[in-house]
Symmetry: none
DNA sequence: ACGTGCGGGACACCCCGTTAGT
DNA sequence: ACTAACGGGGTGTCCCGCACGT
């Protein structure tokens, strides 16, 4: 295969994935329409079927190749080798809120959470892939908190494992709340409260 | 209309609503099947369309008459006239986790959140009803916290409004996390962390 | 339900079955087209789906309610209480050949055999229903032959069981041959030979 | 073209034909799937369409080059220059039943008859090729019987033409019956009866 | 108040064939 | 000779809602 063909292939495949991500993000998996995907990608059903075995398989690849990398990039990479996880977590949170508010993404919800809530109880294939991402995310936070405890930037009496579970859950809930309420303010306010919570995890300052 | 007729009417209507709640809870609104509802309710489609204008209207009534009352009973009533909101909130949370773990409800997610995540961006009618419930819930917590501040059982330097938003969001996220992971442990651990957060809202003990 | 409704129901159901029989007879089950059936029956797909769960189930009912009764009426009933099975069998064979030749049915083959050859190896549900009809047919012949042996109109040294199997097989093959060759003559000639075979089953005349 | 090239060509073509025969034998022509053929042959669709104009043409070549030669070898060649056609026919029949029972081929039916029953009324190209094979077969038997009459091994008062038609039809029907019933016994029993029929074609022994 | 036959349409699937390339 | 991306359409499924009945 030539380079041109390979890139054409990746191009078409990528267009399908992008269009599928958009469609499923907007209408959910069950509500998503294959014809819309085909139209938006500017291809035909034959091409789609050539690359993906069906709607379900397409959605699973969207999770693996679109949603997964985004989640890693946004939530996990910034915490790697963090010396002060509380600061880094707060920066992440504020950064993500700022972006979602200005882009309007807060109105559509978290792509990962959307698909999770819809499909987890219905399809084990979806559930496993989504759960892996959330597990990784929780673990990344727990590791950062543990290293923060060692480095003295985090209180020693908290459970990194439980705390990580709460932080992830809170962010799922915050984005979901903002979506339901169509309220950027709500996102900001709850975000502030979450940052306030993270502040309580700092070691008691020696003298105050 | 006689009393017997009226109660027969309520009986049929109630059976439809119960069956519809079950169906939408399990498969979502878009994935829910009217024929299944009809079968489970032991009635016919004619009866369903006699009482409800369509699938959408049926689901809206389910929110109003089934999910709404449950939410009020579980989350809002226990906080009314609370003298110590932190204690009451923690009791609520632990109670709900215990129930959901033993009933297996943690596997299906929160009925309100499920429908919220699926339908809020797609249909304004759904969104408004769901948002009203969440708003009420947040307000109930905020009022309780405010009264706690006045009563000296809650720190004075926190924002009841923001805190309420976080508490509600956290619980949305916790139940959703447990659903995705099929893990009761995760629900318990994140619940513990949430209770730990609530403990940080207590006024600094006079001497420490 | 009123009589009018019931008969309307039977009417629609019957129209679908008749149209389906025609379609499957002409194009086979796999090649048969549901849209053609709907058009020919003058109904809609909704009505078809109301009465039958799908293409497969429709075809199975066609076997039970159309092909089965025809087969019984043509091949089995005339042999009941036969005192001279060889004569009755030959009359059946000649009668059926005459009818098929004049109606042109010899060009389309035997409805039962068509569906049998196509679907038996692919679907156990089809196979069982078809096999039951052929079994009944063979048994009807075997019983008649046995009773002919007792009555002295059939040779005592033949196996009614094996002979019945051959007679049925021969008729399957004769109709099939005529279909392939588009030749009424072939059907007549092979039918003559089959009648000749039946003649050899007569007891040796006492003196000759 | 070199010898190596030619043989490579024949190799690919042959693999396609073998795979196509298998597929059409199992699922019929209409139910047969080109992708399965391509996969089983270990080639690509491009190669298939390079050698054959389409699904239909492929199937026609399968008849000509696979099914036809098999039929000739099994049914016609053994009868050439037969001095005692009844003995040779019976040997053929018993041999073929033994083989089909032990190989399980009785469950799949006769490849020629399968395609004949499915496609003869739908496509004249199929019909003509299939009919030619059956005609040849009938003629081979008729010629052998005629020569048997001349040689004194067959009764003089039978019609070789009609008898040949019945013998071929009976074998079509026997194999078909066994396929429908999934019964090797049925094949054997009907085969016995057919051999019994052939025995009646022997000239009456001078005195007994 | 409630049953039932039925309308009409959309949706996912999947499949045969072509064409630009090497 | 052979490849692989791709075209385009037909097919079965199935579902929501209506229009009558009684």
């Amino acid at each position: 295969m030539t380079t041109a063909e390979a890139s054409a292939r990746e191009d078409t495949r990528g267009k399908i994935l992008t269009a599928a991500f958009e469609e499923f993000y907007r209408h959910g998996f069950q509500g998503g329409n294959i014809n819309h995907i085909v139209e938006r990608a500017g291809i035909t059903k034959g091409a789609l079927f050539h690359y993906f075995a069906g709607k379900r398989e397409l959605a699973l690849v969207v999770i693996d190749e679109i949603i997964g990398p985004i989640t890693h990039a946004r939530w996990m990479h910034p915490l790697e080798n963090s010396s002060n996880p509380l600061v880094d977590l707060k920066r992440e949170i504020r950064q993500h809120i700022k972006e979602d508010v200005s882009s309007g993404a807060y109105l559509q919800g978290c792509p990962l959470n959307n698909i999770a809530q819809e499909m987890s109880p219905l399809d084990e294939g979806f559930r496993k892939r989504v759960d892996r991402l959330y597990s990784d995310w929780r673990q990344a936070i727990a590791i950062a908190l543990t290293s923060g405890i060692k480095g003295g930037t985090v209180r020693k009496d908290i459970s990194p494992h439980d705390t990580a579970a709460l932080v992830v859950a809170a962010q799922m809930g915050i984005w979901g709340s903002a979506k339901n309420s169509r309220s950027a303010d709500l996102m900001i306010e709850a975000g502030n409260a979450l940052c306030g919570y993270l502040d309580t995890l700092k070691p008691a300052s020696p003298r105050s």
